[in-house]
Symmetry: D2
């Protein structure tokens, strides 16, 4: 099967990039399933219900989140009713929403897990111990499991990749908004990339107007972030997976 995973979609430009590039990616890669990280999809921060449904309309089948999950407060109300939207699984028990889910496309069931790192990020539950428990539950349902590891430090991301090598189909990093050049299939059949990258305005600082961020570094004064404009990019990976075994045969980095 062929899965497309799109990196952090930032604001309206990011959504426009999805609308513009997804049809040709569909055609070229004969995609069975499209997953995207949507933590910045609404104005660069969080996700409203309206934007979630806009993304479904473009042909995205499943959404993951990250540290910005609660930035649009309305998500607290609607996330429990959503079956195609997950947030990091290592929030403490009782948090709204779920940390993993299943989606069936073209007769194939895929399990998706969202996790947050803890280095330079809030102290959620241990992602290493927690992911093991989740995988054990999910493996009963399907061998195809995709992990979105939303984390800052490369050490934590690379370590989780090795830790899950052979246990899941892919460990895909998100959050830093810059695609890394280390996409490969590890020796036990797990695809790995440290960061899928960002989908949105290219000539920006992680999606935000560059002048604002530069000024912030110069002055240490607070800044009102605004999503940049200009040329749009889409960053993603295509995974070619043997759905019988869950092993990934190939990971192809995409930059549009």
């Amino acid at each position: 099967m062929q899965i497309l995973f799109i990196g952090d979609i930032v604001g309206r430009p990011g959504r426009e990039a999805v609308a513009a590039f997804l049809p040709e990616l569909q055609k070229e890669h004969k995609l069975d399933l499209v997953i995207a990280n949507a933590e910045n999809a609404s104005g660069g921060r969080g996700l409203t219900k309206e934007v979630a449904y806009e993304l479904y309309d473009y042909g995205i089948h499943f959404l993951t989140m990250g540290n910005h999950v609660w930035d649009q407060k309305e998500i607290i109300k609607f996330i429990d009713d959503e079956t195609k939207l997950i947030r990091p699984a290592n929030y403490p028990k009782g948090a709204p929403g779920k940390g993993y889910g299943f989606v069936i496309r073209n007769g194939i069931k895929t399990g998706i897990i969202n996790l947050s790192g803890r280095i330079f990020l809030p102290p959620l539950e241990n992602p290493f111990t927690m992911v093991n428990q989740i995988i054990n539950m999910m493996a009963v349902e399907t061998p195809v499991i995709i992990v979105d590891f939303h984390a800052e430090a490369t050490s934590e991301k690379v370590a989780l990749g090795w830790f899950l090598n052979g246990k899941v189909s892919a460990v895909l990093g998100t959050h830093t908004h810059i695609q890394t050049a280390d996409a490969r299939v590890l020796d036990q059949g797990t695809a790995y990339i440290t960061d899928v990258g960002m989908t949105g305005p290219r000539d920006s600082v992680l999606g935000v107007k560059k002048e604002i961020i530069i000024n912030n570094f110069l002055t240490q004064m607070p800044a009102r972030f605004e999503v940049a404009d200009g040329v749009n990019q889409l960053n993603a990976v295509v995974l070619q997976i043997d759905e019988k075994t869950g092993k990934t045969q190939r990971i192809i980095p995409i930059q549009k």
Copy 2:
């Protein structure tokens, strides 16, 4: 002119990768100048005098450092005598060593600046304000200026790239040990990459044995880091620069 910049060399495996791959890179790219980040060259932490001279012997002309600069204490004694070795320029006044330097190769003078980021790193002086002053001094001597920005956060690195766009030949990120897939020449002729990547054992966590780091994330117990072994990689970029103007024409990411 053609410059090769090699990303963080980690321990003996990293030095062996330099010895193994540099001759062919020399031949293929007709290099005028070879620069490398050496902050992890001695046992994964810091740089001894012996290892510095070993690296010079392999054909590296100039060395930069990073947050691990003082890990081998002997460097405090010898760094002031070295003319081909710099540490982050934004250490407070009075710190041993220099933060920038010049090297002449094939009749062309190149200025090199080393800077440290401050997000998730110690509070050195402001790299944005400081680099401007240094560039003003160096620009009198040569238009070819290379910046090694040793930093953790992608926001800080991307912002410095834009900030120096048109003022230097290249802003090359180091420190995260994972090469990014965003190498390009910005619109004012400044080459940019968020991270050049790491030179050393590939099947590791940033150069360290993966079992040690995974165990550290599982248990939060202290770990004694050991440089990994196995397949060796070299991560670098080649810069093709117009030495008359200092503008970069092309940046080529290298993975061996």
Copy 3:
């Protein structure tokens, strides 16, 4: 001379505590000068012009700030016109406002410096090197100099106290909102306390409703901070200073 320094005033309850307790402190300690940290005076975050003038009306002669200085955006407009209000001196050059100032009361000129720590706080300029320069300028005008060091880590605060021992009349810590029990005059005549404490609702978490903060630690979900109510406290110190020499003779911790 007798100086009262009041710790971080939090919201309306904090202002009411000032109004309630300052008259009796005036009477008891025959105060020449009243200084207060006002970084939380408006709704727990920042300082509006209206609240600044309310505090002046209560008899406070000079206000200092901290990491919350820009939380009420209007301060960016009015701080440059204020002569009795300072923000941390180690903001980069060009930031609005000033980092030190003078006030004359009963014929005695007092210099006041506001500094921010950098451990667990944004990377402003180095407070240790910067304060030395400021003191050299101020010492020409008066031997009586008070430093409000707004910092998190006890190591940084204690170190600055020793560093300025004999150079200023007092180093008074703020920011942690809990008064420390280490007020004393160091051997060179500098009064020192790691934290003066907080002025506002006592049965709270640093001034905020305790239920909100506890829930935040349990769930890691975002919280909308609200200033607590109930019993009000005022935390402060009285400094008895020889205005001829600038040496402090006595520091008296106050808890009302």
Copy 4:
């Protein structure tokens, strides 16, 4: 019953302070039980077996630890055999040692819990959820339960105090090495202090030679910490507890 809790003992000077002051405290307060935080007892970092037994010899009945628990590596070998020594309970399952324990003195059983905060400290398990489970187990054995909360941020410490108000006899903060002036019995009978303070050399930076730490702040160069000398202090609290109910009647801060 009367319990003495001694704040972080730093190195040989700290142990000498215990030896010097404990006999008179015994006499004055008729102590039933003496507990101490020993995370810095061996050379300022960690705890060796020899030093643990030296502390027992002075009359300390039970030892708690903190973030420095593993600094002396031999503790990993002997901590599992110790019944009077605990480390933060919120280390992940499988860590050496235990996070809580009981001690019987003069016929009264006391439960002691050690916890680490997570703000500005490593991401151990959530202390708020974990302590609730531990208290439920311990409450079957005795109503007298003492919590050593080893944490940096005042918000986290104050919040845990309120969270455990009425559930334990005392929440005593450690780690910042500066005694706070907020010791009191909360309205449900739980004694609380944000930090008990440090036992060791007074004219120092948290026990370390002040010149070393000041130089570190000025230069950002690494420093070799050395325990200071000079006047010794002991920081502690005495708890007067009704052993029938576990309610604390009085908390007396001690500074010698």
